[in-house]
């Protein structure tokens, strides 16, 4: 994958399980939507608009600290698999990489910083989508980093700004701050105790919303939910970010309470499900991505409850990313049919769990008489 040389951790440092509550929170992302003065955007942008915007980004990127020495991936110059790898690493959106079969538009690109977990999508729905993506719950940190990038880039490129409506965006749902902060949380306890719909409903009441693993329009898989702010105008960036952080911490507390309820009321069943999930991952010969995500959800719960203490959260994060179709094809060096992909996925999981995540057999009897987990 020579295209990714020069990008630290190949753009994957958000997997390293380093932030707060990393066993529950996979990652935090803060993005800012920006447009440049003097060019049409979104569906009205023509090739010359897009190329002019990309040209200005190329010209000025080196004068911005975070983008000095960055890597620019021009979508039309990449093969389809490399583009899907960027999508699977969450460095580019579905819209940017082009829908299946369609070639990406000229001028669409992503600039990945070599110095910080920052990237800039160019000519997506908006001219610029500045994004920070970090591991665990670090909303403030993510905001601070992308704010700095925004200040630096905004001094080089003239953004479209309106005294009343703030930063102007293609979709009016992003106008004002242009800020969308989102946290990817794993909530199996709330799903299993059937409390999740109450929590999700409450999010709507406090101005937040949720989506699936890959953002807008995607399904919830493996009990992962992306929680984000719904509105972007009328509140300051700090207020939006702090509000999300506070609410997500409450959701995490509810999740931890739900897990204690599970252990108290259904300890043996829960423990059995976790070990069965681990067993299937350790020995299966064919795994679809959806099945993998559901099994990983059980195992992640087991790691968090210290039932599978030898496994690292980082290992689980890595399994989620490297078992996606384009990553498996990249490792195999060729295209894979769906059934081949399932076989390669299972083999990869067996190898990783065997080499760095093997869990000693636990021969204790599973019993509800054991005290609840501390």
């Amino acid at each position: 994958m020579s295209a990714f040389t020069g990008v630290p951790d190949m753009g994957l440092n958000w997997l390293d399980a380093s932030g707060d509550h990393a066993e529950i929170v996979l990652s935090t992302r803060v993005r800012l939507a920006r447009n440049l003065q003097g060019h049409a955007f979104g569906p009205r942008a023509r090739v010359n608009d897009r190329e002019a915007v990309l040209g200005r980004v190329r010209q000025h990127a080196d004068r911005v600290d975070a983008l000095d020495g960055s890597t620019l991936f021009h979508m039309p110059d990449l093969d389809a698999r490399s583009r899907r790898i960027l999508l699977e690493r969450r460095l580019a959106s579905r819209e940017l990489v082009g829908e299946d079969g369609a070639d990406p538009a000229r001028g669409t690109a992503v600039v990945v910083s070599g110095r910080a977990p920052l990237n800039v999508m160019v000519n997506e729905e908006d001219h610029l989508r500045l994004q920070s993506l970090v591991s665990g719950l670090r909303v403030r940190d993510a905001w601070t980093m992308v704010d700095r990038l925004d200040e630096d880039l905004g001094r080089e490129l003239p953004y479209a700004f309106h005294h009343e409506f703030g930063f102007l965006t293609s979709c009016p749902t992003n106008a004002g701050t242009g800020l969308r902060a989102s946290v990817l949380v794993h909530l199996p306890g709330l799903v299993l105790t059937k409390e999740i719909s109450k929590v999700l409903h409450a999010l709507g009441q406090v101005g937040l919303t949720f989506r699936g693993l890959y953002g807008e329009g995607s399904e919830v898989v493996g009990n992962f939910f992306q929680i984000s702010n719904q509105t972007t105008l009328g509140k300051s960036e700090e207020d939006l970010v702090d509000h999300l952080d506070r609410v997500v911490r409450k959701v995490i507390q509810h999740e931890m309470d739900a897990r204690q309820v599970l252990l108290r009321d259904a300890g043996a069943v829960t423990e059995d499900k976790i070990w069965r999930a681990y067993g299937l991952l350790r020995y299966a010969r064919s795994l679809s991505f959806e099945e993998l995500m559901n099994l990983l959800s059980g195992v992640r719960l087991g790691v968090s409850l210290k039932l599978l203490p030898e496994l690292r959260v980082y290992t689980l994060n890595k399994l989620m990313i490297f078992t996606q179709p384009a990553h498996l094809e990249e490792a195999a060096g060729r295209d894979l049919s769906p059934s081949e992909s399932d076989a390669h996925r299972a083999a990869f999981v067996r190898r990783i769990l065997g080499s760095e995540g093997d869990v000693s057999p636990d021969d204790r009897p599973s019993s509800d008489e054991r005290p609840p987990h501390a």
Partner: protein, 169 residues
Amino acid sequence: MKCDNCGEVEAVIHLTQIENNEMTACHLCEQCAAAKGLETPPAPASSFPLQEFLAQMGGEPARQDPAPVDEKCGFCGLTFQGFREAGRLGCPHCYTAFEGHLRGLLGRIHNSTQHVGKVYLPPDPTASQLERRLEGLRGQLRRAVDSEDFERAAELRDEIRSLEAETLP
């Protein structure tokens, strides 16, 4: 069809929601929809149904909206009808061209039309790179102090001092 909430007034806003493979429909009159803030539909929203919402707006008399419906942006050529169909604006000038419509729409989406976040000043071509950088850092310092993030404020203050030292002869 009467409003699901008050049961008295004719419903003009129709929302359809799919959650856990179950579809729920909700029909509201203008007042009840406004009271609910509209971006908070009865079940948790997975995304704001903007296109549907905009299409529904077409059914209302545009009494608060001064701009005629076929108004066109002079810069990119997008018509207001075109915006309503696509749900996307075409360029920064569209915000001025459709200002009256957008003020109403933004108010309904965000419960506000007044941006209170970062204030942006476009780059001053006559300022030096260092001056522009300092100006940006001073803005960040003000905001760090406002939000009581004193640790960051201290870092920014040190950075500003060291840059200011560079500007001295």
